[in-house]
Structure formats: structure tokens, C-alpha cells
């Protein structure tokens, strides 16, 4: 499987681990799964990109849609663990300054209000 999405509950925060490749082929299915996970409107969402190997602009659109969805319902979203080419893509696209990015999960969890 080129993309795997799993969730964990962390003291009121919904942590979503995205593993594999978030590209043209996997992005539409990923968006569907992620929006399903957000049903019930959790106020705090942590997107863990540490296991993500690859993200294209189609994948960025998925992350953007999720961020807008969380904000629209008054929630807070933080992104953690981006590394290598994934981090580079976030920086080139300007997402790094607009999304709340953290190097590790503990920092991100501590930053939730």
C-alpha cells in the first residue's frame, strides 16, 4: 500500500499518522479518509508526517483542505514530523509559515491551547 492513514487519541487530541506517499494517485482517497476522521469535529488535530516519504502538490491540497476544515469548525491543527523532501516541499510552497509546524510530537502537543 502506498499510503496508510491511522489515528490515535492523545489526551483529547486526535493524532493522525500519514505514512507512505501522498501524491496524485493517493490524494483523493486520502482526503476522503481524513474528512471522515474529522467527523465529530475534534477541536484539536495533530497531523503526524514523520512516516510520510513523499508529498506532491496534490498532497499539499489535501493538507490544506484538512486545515481549513478544522479551522472552519473552530478547531486547532498542528503538523509534526515533516522531514527530508516533505519538509522541503512544505517550505517551498510557503505552508511552513502558515501551518503550525513542529519537529516532534511532544512540542506540538504542548502547544495546544
Amino acid at each position: 500500500m502506498s499510503l496508510n492513514i491511522t489515528t490515535r487519541g492523545l489526551d483529547g487530541v486526535l493524532a493522525i499518522d500519514i505514512e507512505g506517499k501522498l501524491d496524485t494517485t493517493t490524494s483523493s482517497g486520502a482526503l476522503e479518509v481524513l474528512l471522515q476522521q474529522l467527523q465529530g469535529d475534534p477541536p484539536s488535530v495533530l497531523i503526524n508526517l514523520a512516516p510520510l516519504e513523499f508529498v506532491s502538490s496534490a498532497g499539499l491540497r489535501v493538507i490544506l483542505r484538512v486545515a481549513k476544515r478544522v479551522r472552519a469548525y473552530g478547531g486547532e491543527m498542528k503538523v509534526t514530523g515533516a522531514q527530508g523532501v516533505v519538509k522541503e516541499v512544505l517550505e517551498i510552497s510557503g505552508f511552513d509559515s502558515l501551518l503550525s509546524l513542529y519537529d516532534d510530537e511532544d512540542q506540538a502537543l504542548a502547544a495546544f491551547n
Binding site: T25, S56, G84, I92
Partner: protein, 140 residues
């Protein structure tokens, strides 16, 4: 390596997978391979999504070349004339709400690859992307 695909989005993953194996066989650095894979994904997705005004089947040709200095990707299609590198790129959004989903693909290609060239020749768009190699190629 010469590859021909139809203008269908499901072909993109196959070609990118082929490039991944090609880079792996040449023992390219992971960062070089990933940059090229991303650029090819973006370019093909753009061509297939926006390059045709009919519903006919079209052929897209991809050539992968490697020498001691660079990895080169040549992509040729018979879609509408379009130079992806001459258009202004979105930038400077101030918030997530302002951040638009489009336009980031070509910015990624231009930033991650060392050379991007376009020409229109005999009714075809021909894009050449090149990534310099930071270490010599050792073929397996």
C-alpha cells in the same frame, strides 16, 4: 529509458515508480531521486489534467537519461501549447484561508530541479528537466 503512456492520471504512479527504479539502479542519492519523482508527478498531472481539449486518447512520451553529471527527464505531449515555466507563481499568502490549492506544482518543479526548459516543436510541448548529480553514478 523510453516510456510511452496514455493521458490518464492512473498512469502517473506507474511512470513515477519506473523512475524510482531507474534512479535506484543508478544508485542516485535519495534526495535527487525524490526531487525528480516529484517533478515528473507534477508535470504529468498538469499535462493530463489541463493539456487536452478533447476526450481522445493521447500519447505522452517520457525519456529518462543519466550521465556522470545529471539526470535528465524529457517529456513530450501533443496537448495545447503551454509553457509551464513562464507563468507567475502564487506567493505571499498571509493565512491558511488565503492559501490557494493551485500553482504550487510548477513552483516545486522549478525549485527542486536545476534546469527547466520548454519548447514547442512540430505541434508538441517538449519539457526538459535536469537535476545535477552531487556524486558520480555507479551503475549496478
Amino acid at each position: 529509458m523510453h516510456i510511452e503512456i496514455a493521458n490518464a492520471l492512473e498512469e502517473v504512479a506507474t511512470v513515477v515508480g519506473t523512475l524510482e527504479v531507474f534512479c535506484d539502479n543508478a544508485s542516485l542519492e535519495k534526495s535527487t531521486a525524490q526531487a525528480a519523482e516529484l517533478a515528473l508527478d507534477e508535470l504529468l498531472t498538469n499535462i493530463i489534467s489541463y493539456g487536452y481539449v478533447d476526450d481522445s486518447r493521447h500519447k505522452i512520451v517520457i525519456d529518462l537519461e543519466i550521465d556522470s553529471h545529471a539526470l535528465t527527464l524529457l517529456v513530450s505531449d501533443d496537448g495545447i501549447a503551454f509553457n509551464p515555466f513562464e507563468h507567475e507563481l502564487p506567493c505571499c499568502e498571509q493565512s491558511v484561508e488565503q492559501l490557494e490549492p493551485g500553482g504550487h506544482g510548477i513552483r516545486l518543479v522549478k525549485t527542486l530541479m536545476d534546469q527547466c526548459a520548454y519548447q514547442r516543436l512540430e505541434g508538441k510541448n517538449i519539457v526538459t528537466l535536469q537535476k545535477r548529480l552531487s556524486q558520480p553514478v555507479t551503475r549496478r
